[in-house]
């Protein structure tokens, strides 16, 4: 056995042991956070506690989380531009697939809308809805439906940024009466959260689709890549 | 901030600002650079004279601001410090003149003069430092700003010398740092106070204090070229002549000796240091260095190397004077700080003149140089006589006071060291003088530089003669007010009175 395997095995076992023991020895907290959440629910503007935590009580975490998601696309865009790919050509020209898609797509859109709406009072929300939307987009792509409008950088990037931008704008605008960032006025909280979730759904869906689109498989073959005119990197050695 | 602290700041700033401006000047702006250099040097000298007058009248000059809680940056002009400042700024002026002539048409002059001014600023800072922290700050700055000058020529040999220089000085600096930090933990900010500030400590701490003293003296001894920490100095002679002259004969080595003086007088206090039994070993170390340096000098054929070993030996006279417990020995040590500076810089200027004008670097090639370059050779002779200690040269005064001081302190063996060392001094200087004046040159001189009206360019000759004249005057007029001896007596009266 390689030393690395032994090392990995011992380390994993040690960590598993320590963690298992730690879990076993866990004492229940003195602080009762669910109770606090329950008490604050009426002021949150939504009825489902997870959504309330995600978009109201701990909305700041979600804001940064969306930033992380956007970051991944920014890096993908940057690398794509640094090493341009060939024009992509993707999808199966299969009439059956298209027919199925015609059935599936409306269903997907409805599911998206439902998940988004459901988030207010039962499990669901922007990320789940966005993922389903992205799945729809992906199926379209596999079915060979062209999504050329996504190649327009202005449209694409606006769509990507919309969620975070709305979130930020809402967070800052509510400060006007002199309250901290992201303090929704109680009466508008529900509407504002819905607005944020709506834009987030679209942006998350678009982000996930873009992440697929930005690394087309045809450009992956290093042999092929080498045939291309040399990429624009290189430049200054440092 | 009042005028008295501003003027201290100005003394430091003259060379710092000059340094910054010179760095930014283009290589080709020779005239502007020389003007700035000289203007700064003259301005500094005037300011220093002003302060000397003030210190003489017991005016307090102090500049202080807080660096971190419990540690202040303090500049203060006291009699001891201003003496060193006076020496440095006087010699800076002459060396600048000399360097302008010496480096004519050489490359990298902006860099050279920039770091040169920075060195002088550090030396002034060392001299004016009011506590150990400030001293340490400038002490390390001196190390850093000297390095580019040592490696200035960029040859393999000078880079090697620079590396050795760094090994020694950085290591020494680190030891000094430890000593200073340890003292700081024990007693807080250690300001320089005549009579020292440690004598009140608990006797159980005495072994620790001895250890700290040892660390600091080793750290300082590196720059003072105490045996066996001296090896960097002869190697550093690959630097251009003005560097060897000002820095390695005056500023750097004396910074070490001056630091030891500070530690003994103003941190430990001479009496406390004596009662700890620290002075005897220091005197022994100094004596060994004196003899060792002289012996090694005998064997050198390279003129600058011989002078370097002579420096090793002579700087330890200062340390010897410090370690003699008693006012007269102290006077001898302190006055030698000035005297040796004046004499040794003269000798280095002469060595530079021989090398530049005649292309001669070795003692064995100096035959008949006196005929070709009489003025330089006269200056050299004066300096050499001073080093040997022939009256009425300045060196005689130093040795006289050292001898009496040794008797006063009851360390009669020191007298033997002085006599042997003087004989050795004579043994390595007189043959040079013999060659210069009484031998004839067989072959024609290969002239290095185009010579003007004088035997060598005026910018090289004038500083040489001026410092020689100062060295002569310091001995001849030792009894006059404001002579080095007079000033050393003032210092001792102030150090021993409180």
């Amino acid at each position: 056995m390689k030393p690395r395997v032994i090392f990995a095995g011992l380390l994993s076992l040690a960590i598993a042991g320590a963690l298992g023991w730690a879990v076993l020895e866990r004492t229940l907290p003195a602080e009762n956070l669910p109770e606090r959440v329950a008490q604050a629910m009426p002021l949150s503007g939504v009825e489902h506690p997870i959504t309330a935590v995600l978009l109201n009580f701990r909305g700041y975490d979600t804001l940064l989380e969306i930033a992380v998601l956007l970051l991944a696309v920014v890096v993908a865009l940057a690398l794509r531009e640094a090493q341009p790919d060939r024009p992509e050509r993707m999808g199966l020209e299969n009439p059956l697939l298209r027919a199925v898609m015609a059935w599936l797509l409306p269903l997907i859109l409805i599911t998206t809308g439902f998940l988004l709406w459901a988030g207010a009072y039962q499990p669901g929300g922007a990320f789940q809805a966005g993922s389903v939307l992205a799945a729809g987009g992906l199926l379209l792509r596999l079915a060979g439906v062209t999504t050329a409008w996504l190649d327009n950088p202005a449209v694409l990037r606006t769509g990507l940024a919309m969620g975070l931008l709305t979130f930020l704008a809402v967070g800052l605008l509510v400060m006007l009466p002199g309250v901290p960032f992201l303090t929704y006025p109680t009466e508008y909280a529900g509407a504002l959260i819905l607005l944020i979730e709506l834009t987030l759904t679209l942006s998350i869906g678009l982000t996930l689709i873009s992440l697929f689109r930005l690394t087309p498989p045809y450009a992956d073959d290093p042999e092929e890549a080498r045939d291309q005119p040399s990429s624009r990197n290189g430049g200054m050695a440092s | 901030m009042d005028w008295n602290s501003l003027i201290l700041f100005a003394v430091l700033a003259t060379s710092l600002v000059a340094s910054a401006v010179i760095f930014l000047l283009a290589e080709s702006r020779v005239t502007l650079r020389s003007t700035i250099n000289l203007a700064a040097a003259v301005l500094k000298l005037l300011l220093v004279l002003w302060i000397i007058w003030g210190v003489y009248q017991n005016i307090e000059y102090e500049l202080r601001f807080t660096i971190i809680d419990g540690v202040d940056f303090i500049l203060r002009a006291d009699a001891l410090g201003i003496m060193f400042v006076g020496l440095s700024s006087l010699l800076w002026l002459f060396t600048t003149l000399y360097a302008i002539g010496y480096l004519e048409k050489a490359p990298n002059r902006s860099r050279f003069f920039g770091f040169f001014s920075l060195c002088v600023a550090s030396t002034v800072g060392i001299a004016l430092a009011g506590n150990l922290f400030t001293f340490l700050l400038f002490y390390e700055l001196l190390t850093l700003s000297t390095y580019p000058l040592v490696v200035h020529r960029g040859t393999r040999e000078s880079l090697r010398a620079g590396q050795i220089y760094l090994y020694y000085t950085l290591g020494g600096g680190a030891l000094l740092l430890f000593g200073v930090v340890a003292l700081h933990v024990l007693v807080g900010d250690t300001e320089f106070i005549p009579g020292g500030s440690l004598s009140g400590l608990d006797p159980t701490l005495y072994p620790l204090l001895i250890g700290i003293f040892l660390m600091m003296v080793i750290g300082l001894g590196v720059k003072a070229a105490l045996f066996p920490l001296h090896a960097w100095l002869p190697m550093a002679m690959v630097a251009p002549a003005p560097v060897s002259a000002l820095l390695h004969a005056v500023a750097v080595v004396k910074a070490g000796a001056f630091g030891i003086a500070r530690v003994v007088y103003d941190v430990y206090g001479i009496e406390f240091a004596f009662s700890l039994g620290l002075l005897g070993p220091l005197a022994v170390a100094a004596s060994i260095t004196i003899l060792y340096g002289s012996l090694r000098a005998l064997a050198q054929d390279d003129l600058k190397k011989r002078l370097a070993f002579s420096t090793i030996s002579q700087v330890s006279y200062i340390i010897l004077g410090i370690s003699l417990f008693g006012p007269i020995g102290t006077i001898g040590g302190l006055v030698h700080l000035l005297h040796q500076g004046l004499m040794k810089i003269t000798l280095f200027f002469c060595a530079g003149n021989y090398a530049e004008t005649l292309g001669v670097h070795k003692v064995s090639e100096l035959d008949g140089a006196g005929q070709r370059m009489p003025a330089t050779s006269v200056a050299f002779t004066l300096g050499a006589f001073g080093m040997i200690g022939i009256p009425p040269m300045a060196g005689f005064i130093s040795k006289w006071y050292l001898g009496i001081g040794a008797l006063e302190a009851g360390m009669n063996w020191v007298l033997g060291v002085l006599i042997v060392s003087s004989l050795l001094n004579a043994a390595y200087f007189l043959p040079i003088l013999y060659r210069i004046w009484f031998r004839r040159r067989e072959r024609p001189w290969c002239e290095g530089k185009v010579v003007g009206r004088f035997e060598t360019p005026a910018l090289l000759l004038i500083p040489t003669l001026a410092t020689a004249a100062f060295a002569l005057a310091a001995g001849l007029f030792a009894g006059m007010p404001f002579s080095p001896l007079y000033w050393a007596q003032i210092i001792v009266s102030r150090e021993y009175l409180p």
Binding site: R4, V5, F7, A8, G9, L11, S12, L13, I15, A16, L19, G20, V23, L24, R26, L28, P29, N32, L33, P34, E35, V37, P49, I50, A52, V53, L54, R58, D61, T62, E65, I66, V68, L69, L71, A72, V75, A76, L79, A82, Q83, G125, F127, L208, L211, L214, T215, A219, D220, D221, P222, E223, A225 | -
Partner: protein, 98 residues
């Protein structure tokens, strides 16, 4: 043994398995999969322990959703970099690893 403990222990096992794979494998895709398994383990611990005591705690659930999004983003980023690396070098592992 309570239900919470079962979930949490499963999470621990998943995390350790993932860690083992992460260290042992050289193929970057496998290492990413291992990373995702580790992530799932961590999420399971988070939700599992929250089941205990006083009913359902929504905070860990929200944390897990945030964690999943972050993991998705990280995985996507890793895939992007990996594919560019593969394209530039033709390798599926990192150069100093053998």
């Amino acid at each position: 043994m309570s239900g919470a403990l079962v979930f949490a222990w499963s999470g621990v096992v998943l995390f350790s398995l993932g860690l083992f794979g992460f260290i042992v494998h050289r193929h970057l895709l496998r290492r990413l999969l291992a990373f995702n398994i580790m992530g799932s383990g961590a999420f399971l611990v988070l939700v599992g322990l929250a089941q205990d005591g006083r009913g359902i705690d929504p905070v860990p659930h929200a944390m897990v959703i945030t964690g999943i999004v972050v993991a998705v983003a990280s995985t996507a980023l890793a895939l992007v970099v990996f594919r560019r690396w593969y394209r530039a070098s033709g390798r599926t592992d990192l150069p100093e690893d053998t």
